[in-house]
Symmetry: D2
Subunit: 171 residues, 4 copies
Amino acid sequence: MLNGGSSSGKSGIARCLQELLPDPWLSFGVDTLIMAMPASARTSAAGIEFAPQGEVIVGPQFRSLEAAWIAGLVAMAGAGARIIVDEAFLGGAASQQRWTAALGDLPTLWVGVRCDAEAAAAREIARGDRVPGMAASQAELVHQGIVYDLEVDTTHAEALACARHIAASLR
Amino acid sequence: MLNGGSSSGKSGIARCLQELLPDPWLSFGVDTLIMAMPASARTSAAGIEFAPQGEVIVGPQFRSLEAAWIAGLVAMAGAGARIIVDEAFLGGAASQQRWTAALGDLPTLWVGVRCDAEAAAAREIARGDRVPGMAASQAELVHQGIVYDLEVDTTHAEALACARHIAASLR
Amino acid sequence: MLNGGSSSGKSGIARCLQELLPDPWLSFGVDTLIMAMPASARTSAAGIEFAPQGEVIVGPQFRSLEAAWIAGLVAMAGAGARIIVDEAFLGGAASQQRWTAALGDLPTLWVGVRCDAEAAAAREIARGDRVPGMAASQAELVHQGIVYDLEVDTTHAEALACARHIAASLR
Amino acid sequence: MLNGGSSSGKSGIARCLQELLPDPWLSFGVDTLIMAMPASARTSAAGIEFAPQGEVIVGPQFRSLEAAWIAGLVAMAGAGARIIVDEAFLGGAASQQRWTAALGDLPTLWVGVRCDAEAAAAREIARGDRVPGMAASQAELVHQGIVYDLEVDTTHAEALACARHIAASLR
């Protein structure tokens, strides 16, 4: 479970993990869920919304779909698939709790993906495909109250180096 | 459950259904699974492969990940999410059987999405992002031995019209 | 020169033409120019803007960059490249005039790509990646006052069939 | 003119420059040209090809289209557009010479975008959308025999910091 703010480098770490690990791992993220939602729900008050400063506002409809989504990923893992989840715990400890309750006894490595707000904001500009402000507003927020097995920091390290560190803990 | 060949218009019908149906539906397809796989598995003999004439060759590794994927989508539906699945049953009745076994008692509308091979091949060229030959090779193949509740044909009808027909059966 | 409204099928026809024509043709469109602009200019009053009903509002900054863009494409053609341009003449005869003035003596085939507003609007929903309403608002508008050598209609014909008709006029 | 190997960070620097610079700049790259080519030319011996180790093999057809492309971008600049070009000079001094001959008297800032082969290869894995091996094979190659006004290195610096350095030279 990779948790980090927008533009912290989670997806890059996930792709590197898939190349490093000897078994095939499936990689899913909150972006997979958002892409599966109706186009209208992606931008409605009931679904998910991007405020002018880049904050993400999550409505009740999204929460209900997300609960089913979590149940589904847990079932995939229960059926034997190795799964990387790329998440941004905008709700702090409550976000982690939603997952721990669903995961039950399934072995999980909780990984914090940190990146200084300034570096994440710079990468957001370089990507050019995100709502400006998300990186800075999430950089600290998503880690508040979260308990990790392992933390990596992409501010000065490549995603591949972070992935090597994580992979070593999975053996 | 939308089953049809490559470039038959399944994804377009799925997006139209999401706009037409009053509740929010999640839309997933075999493309979602392929995108979740390691880049190397997408093109290896153990994973999934695109032969020169556009046939898709599916290896044992893919089958095992697909079984977990099916279990996960069924669990999402069991947890209350309404789900559209966009599939290409390359294995005929055995492909459908994998789903019926997993779905159990969950209510499912089986929809065949037909498109003449010539029209599908023309759309494949117009899209420009698919391996040439997939549309023609799958147009008939994916429907062999499949039992449907409903069939639509995109050869002469817009995806939206097909989606209206399907939506009427979901009420 | 392919001129038609949003979701009328211009890009698909362009890709089919590239496959049908024996020589290599380069394909550019107003989307190429928009992608080349700064992210901020794409959504600012000075650049280009998408109004709530899907109308496109084009500012003075965009006009100035577009004039240079047109000069550049004409220079590519003057240097010997065969070029397909995919356009939406939102400004009517004045839009065409901007091109004819720049093209000078270069041989040009003016092609109108028509699609009924209802069919274009249906395809816009099926695509799911356009601002809703653009297709319907542009369907008639972009053809007002334009003079063509040839017209095709994608309402009931595949892009490939339209491209075959156009290709026959290029020999 | 930004010249650097694959995955060295040129596109990110270009997007940052567009945000930093007060006037609107258009950004084009060799990827724009490749996307404009017929799908078949992108992978044919006459066009452009990606060898198993990630080397790029450029055929005569590509060279001829590229000459027209260069003439077109130069004409855009001549018509008053400010242009960022993102290039990979695989042919060394001859590649630069093609541009200098076409540019004539137009003021140009030649910028080398360096990145250590190891870091570029790591980023190529994290991106997951490039032919593996391109980053390492181009890291040194594209700089051989090239004369720059300015060089930046993305190995340990963010694209935004490199862009600030470049922007300071444009004033």
